[in-house]
């Protein structure tokens, strides 16, 4: 049959020929088929190179820093005087500032975020939920520099009106504003966790005579706890890495203090201060930038890994 066809249509290639030609693999289509996967693989590898790039640059310069400043002095030093005659590079004031601002932020974002999540997932009607949720997401889309401006020119003066002893740059105001910034993140992640609790469990409790409030606290929140904790940890990680709000509103005092009415510097704000100015490449203060950035990177990485671990390990399966 095939032979007959070939004789009949001399000028047209037979299907057989076409298949044979395709198997040869010399035409454009099959070359494309071979090149594209390689190309896409190389593109996907960019994300890995980004990670390698971050770790490599931070590590190399951090090692250089620790050749000049002993590791112990860096991690246990309570004095940070990079510009003085006898410079001291203790990172504790920065870690202290970072932790305190994050605690303030979480004191705002934690309760309000979880209450928002409860309202949206347990109490609000579908219509209310659909109006409120996108509006909350606007809050997450506001650039951090705008929050910084708000903290510095509105919240701080407001606080100072009530408590005149508060300094013009203090850790309290950026901490509070940072909290507002993190609310949508905690609310939306916790709400996801709560809505994924099966309705049968709620109905069971309701049928036993529990009120909605009791259902929320005795059934829904315990069942969604892993997701809620993960959202908290991610919120903390976000607060630790936040830069512009604290840079603008908390000043650059490097005192080791627990007084939230005073100026404190966070790790991120220190990086901004040093990189934005007077540090010539190769000086110890320049390398300290990388050591602090490395500490920051490790902090947030651990938090993110912890969040993932919590939400995987302690997830209740239904």
């Amino acid at each position: 049959m095939a032979l007959d066809n070939k004789i009949d249509n001399q000028d047209k290639p037979s299907i057989q020929d076409m298949i044979a030609k395709k198997k040869n693999g010399k035409n454009l289509t099959s070359i494309t088929e071979k090149v594209i996967p390689v190309l896409l693989f190389l593109i996907a590898a960019v994300s890995i190179f980004t990670t390698i790039g971050i770790v490599y640059t931070l590590l190399i310069e951090t090692i250089e820093f620790f050749k000049r400043v002993p590791v112990m002095d860096f991690f246990t030093g309570t004095a940070l005087k990079p510009l003085s005659q006898n410079p001291e590079f203790g990172v504790l004031p920065l870690i202290n500032g970072t932790i305190i601002s994050s605690i303030i932020a979480m004191l705002v974002a934690g309760p309000i975020g979880i209450m928002t999540a409860v309202f949206l997932s347990e109490y609000a009607s579908e219509r209310v939920r659909r109006t409120l949720k996108p509006m909350l997401e606007i809050l997450a889309g506001i650039p951090t520099i705008v929050y910084g401006f708000f903290a510095f020119t509105f919240v701080t003066p407001l606080i100072r009106e009530v408590f005149p002893s508060v300094e013009a740059t203090n850790i309290l105001s950026p901490g509070l504003v940072m909290g507002v910034m993190i609310i949508p993140m905690i609310a939306s992640l916790s709400e996801d966790a709560m809505t994924s609790v099966p309705n049968a469990m709620r109905e069971g409790a309701l049928a036993l005579g529990a009120t909605k409030l009791e259902v929320t606290f005795r059934v829904v929140i315990p069942a969604a706890l892993s997701g809620i904790i993960a959202s908290f940890v991610l919120g903390i990680s976000r607060a630790i890495g936040e830069t512009m709000i604290v840079t603008i509103a908390s000043g650059s005092s490097k005192n080791f203090t627990f007084d939230i009415t005073q100026s404190m510097q966070t790790m991120t704000a220190y990086i901004v201060e040093v990189s934005g100015g007077e540090a010539p490449a190769g000086s110890t203060i320049y390398f300290s930038l990388y050591a602090v950035a490395m500490t920051l990177f490790v902090f947030t990485l651990l938090m993110n890994l912890l969040a993932r671990y919590v939400s995987r390990k302690f997830r209740e399966e239904y």
Binding site: I36, M115, L132, T153, T211, G276
Partner: protein
Amino acid sequence: MKYVDTNQVQKNMNSRLIKNNILKSVFFLATIFGLIVLAVLIFRVIMQGASWINMDFLTNKLSTSPDRAGIMGAILGTFWLMLVVIPVTLILGVGTAIYLELYAKKGRFQGFIQTNIANLAGVPSIVYGILGMTIFVRALDFGNVVLAGGLTMSLLVLPIIIVASQESIRSVPQHLSEASYGMGATKWQTVKNIILPAALPGILTGSILSLSRAIGETAPLVVIGIPALLIPFPGGIMDKFTVLPMQIYYWTIDSSLVEEYANLAAATIIILLVLLFLLNATAIFIRNKFQKRF
């Protein structure tokens, strides 16, 4: 014989219901707390900055004198930055998503890239700034130009567009690509002609969202080193530049020296927020208009 004391039950019930109702209001107040802050923030910024916005402010060059200062340079800088970020993130983001969803064998390596992307999304933006300063500004010696800033921003927002594109590609139903294979199309032909067009609305939405993140981000550019008072306009990707958020930053921290700078910062914030609003509105429009339900 009565098994249940009705009065007692009634009494207990009442207090429990009251508690429920009170806390419902508390939860509602907590929900709108964020919105109230948002309203105050926007109201405050508009009150302070709206009267400063006029043609001169939009078209003038930067100046130390508040009355003559304009943000044309920052607007152009933001524009040039977008011109770098859009193609780079589209190629890298969509390429990675196609590879992960359609080409990579499900296994350890694919899982590794996926975890890596999730971790990159959690890296603070300022760390990307340090990466950009070390690699693009110093090692490759671009200097603090648009290209260096744009590449840094691209890496920063890459996880957003990758994840969005992946979700979009995943939601293209199997039977479309199977029909394409059944017609004799090769894999790449199927990807190019069937899957990508169907996934395009989701990809565009994701890329606009990542773009608006790049436009509002400040920290990486501070580290890269953007001059505080840059007079000449940027004319290409190898020029020094400033962007809207950087201008807000400098005017805010200098507002303790010159009071009017705070108003200029507020006016610039209005422009930035309008720009972001337009971008997001476009994203929502694309999502509603072109998203097909299969």
